[in-house]
Assembly symmetry: C2
Homo-oligomer: 359 residues x 2
């Protein structure tokens, strides 16, 4: 039986990826020079489609890195001299905070329990935080942070660089970039692509900050410092030979979603999420990890299945569905289900049915 991956990422490939790879091979996309007009056209086309899909303004530049983890690394290296602040509600937010510490910064964190969101009525003093970091959709806990709350933090700390990790929330969410400074994601999640590309979207304030740090004599890194990356990006090129195939595929998937209709895709995502949460909520012995309705991620749905976990996972697998286990210490008790654009309503209905029929 053909398996369908509902894992948080890597996940099921978007169906158009198969044909797009075949076309790329036919058109020698992997052999062309990364300084050629052909490559520039690919980068430009991907840039345009992604800008349109996520409504990215012209004063933001789109940079291609190796992974979302590299985006964290380069953001800290380029935008933080002394300290950043991290809102930590799971393993990926913690990774961002740890990155800052490992890069020698005196960074701070606001930490909440597994499955919880933040209390925005009690914000810490972030006056000295050069960068404020949110993992907008925490993949390990399925907690989504309301973008409006993040915009309010930006309003309160306009001098800080406010960054959102949207690894598992794009392309479902469309952030208001005018109220942010940077966002990043990787492509093996919502875009349904093979892993190996990180996308970092930054405004001029980030670039200016990198310039400032460099002028103060600090190192902002080498080939992947924001100044070099941005200098090449305006020419639709990379500093090094990038993952050309992935840049090509990202353009094709984005273009496809635009043609399909981004509003339609978003409404469908919400409908599928509603189905899954309803099914989980209807179970007697299983609960959604995230209790507060307004903190529940639409794209990463987590069930506390306890001793039913293995049985449910097996029943899903018997129907062809691969879902994720809980992250880290919740490996054997939680089930994580991704709900991305390539995941079809009829499959989600089948998954929901397995939960509903669990005694």
């Amino acid at each position: 039986m053909r398996k369908i991956y509902f894992t948080p990422g890597p996940t099921e490939l978007h169906p158009i990826v198969h044909e797009a790879i075949a076309q790329a091979l036919k058109d020698d996309i992997c052999s062309i020079n990364h300084r050629s007009k052909e490559f520039v056209e690919i980068y430009r086309s991907t840039d345009k489609a992604l800008r349109s899909l996520l409504n990215i303004p012209d004063d933001f530049v789109i940079l291609f890195l190796g992974s979302a983890t590299e985006c964290m690394d380069r953001l800290v290296q380029n935008c933080v001299l002394k300290s950043s602040h991290h809102f930590v509600n799971g393993a990926f937010a913690e990774r961002f905070h740890k990155t800052a510490i490992e890069l020698g910064k005196d960074s701070t964190a606001t930490t909440v329990e597994h499955g919880s969101g933040f209390d925005f009525s009690e914000l810490p003093d972030m006056t000295n935080s050069e960068m404020i970091c949110f993992t907008q959709n925490e993949t390990s806990s399925g907690v989504a942070t309301d973008l409006e709350k993040i915009y309010e933090v930006k309003e309160k700390y306009p001098e800080a660089i406010v960054v959102i990790d949207v690894v598992t929330s794009v392309p479902y969410i469309e952030p208001d970039f005018s109220k942010l400074d940077a966002a990043f994601f990787s492509v093996q999640k919502g875009f349904g692509m093979p892993a190996g590309l990180g996308v970092l979207i930054v405004n001029k304030r980030c670039i200016e900050k990198a310039k400032h740090l460099k002028e103060k004599g600090g190192s902002i890194g080498s080939y992947h410092n924001l100044l070099s990356l941005a200098e090449y990006a305006v020419k639709y090129q990379n500093t090094e030979t990038p993952n050309v195939l992935a840049i090509y595929l990202l353009g094709k998937v984005s273009q496809h979603l635009l043609e399909y209709g981004k509003e339609k895709m978003r409404l469908e995502t919400e409908a599928k999420a509603e189905l899954l949460y309803s099914a989980i909520d209807s179970c007697a012995n299983i609960q959604a990890l995230v209790k507060k309705q307004d903190e529940r991620s639409k794209t990463i749905i987590i069930a506390q299945a306890g001793d039913k976990q293995a049985e449910i996972k097996q029943r899903l697998l018997d129907s062809g569905y691969v879902v994720g286990s809980g992250y880290g210490k919740y490996k054997d008790s939680e089930i994580r289900i991704a709900n991305f654009p390539m995941h079809r309503l009829e499959d989600v209905k089948n998954i929901a049915e397995v939960f509903s029929s669990t005694s």
Copy 2:
């Protein structure tokens, strides 16, 4: 007409890459979890095949990064506190030196003219160089540095970490790793794969150096520091979600070359190189850029074609062959021809014929 790429990289895909990608898609390689047993098996299998192909000893660890440029960046960040020395005979060696400078090191360089090798009878004093860097096969100039000369440098400076950039010389060359500390390459050259993976091979001295730098309070980077990378690599995993497809393909290409016969592949490479250099040497108005026979790269062959360059490139293109232009300021006067395992003898004969018939 189907084009065949003889460009230095990205270049023609190895023919088995097409079928390997098809198999990968069929087997859901891009959807599996990067902490799963399936992934561990892929990493282990690639590690094994590559070790066998390049004769990498057990006390070296194979790490997967984003590009060869990232390998330079991470090596400097992890193995150099104050200074490295760079043998610079072209743009890629210069990139390595520049990387060290950009990362705040007080690094030095021995520089020679375009198309020349180094005079090993007059070595600089490298007593204070923690890392000594050779671009063993300089892609911008087609100069190959004799591995024996590099081993002699290592013998003279046993305390230094000696690194070779073998981006365009593997899998043709098989370095003696017992006389080196690190080597790195990217896969879109001799391995004929899509770009997006850097391979860094390091011994324990590099890891120990990273540990030492960290203990002294310096930052060796975050998720891609050598300690974290090596810690995961022994479990056949990466610190982040890597380019899984590329790791899979590298294993398939390496396995194929092993079955084909590495000695046979190497002898063929030398025969094809001989054909190309002979044809270029036979031209009245065209010369090989590298004058000294023993400095001529077998895998990157460069012709100084002067005002014949555009004409020859066009004639080659008319026959279906895409070759590279000169690097940087030699863009309009030189022709760079790659000679990798996937490049067939009959095509090389056709290319040689175009040179031989140039008046």
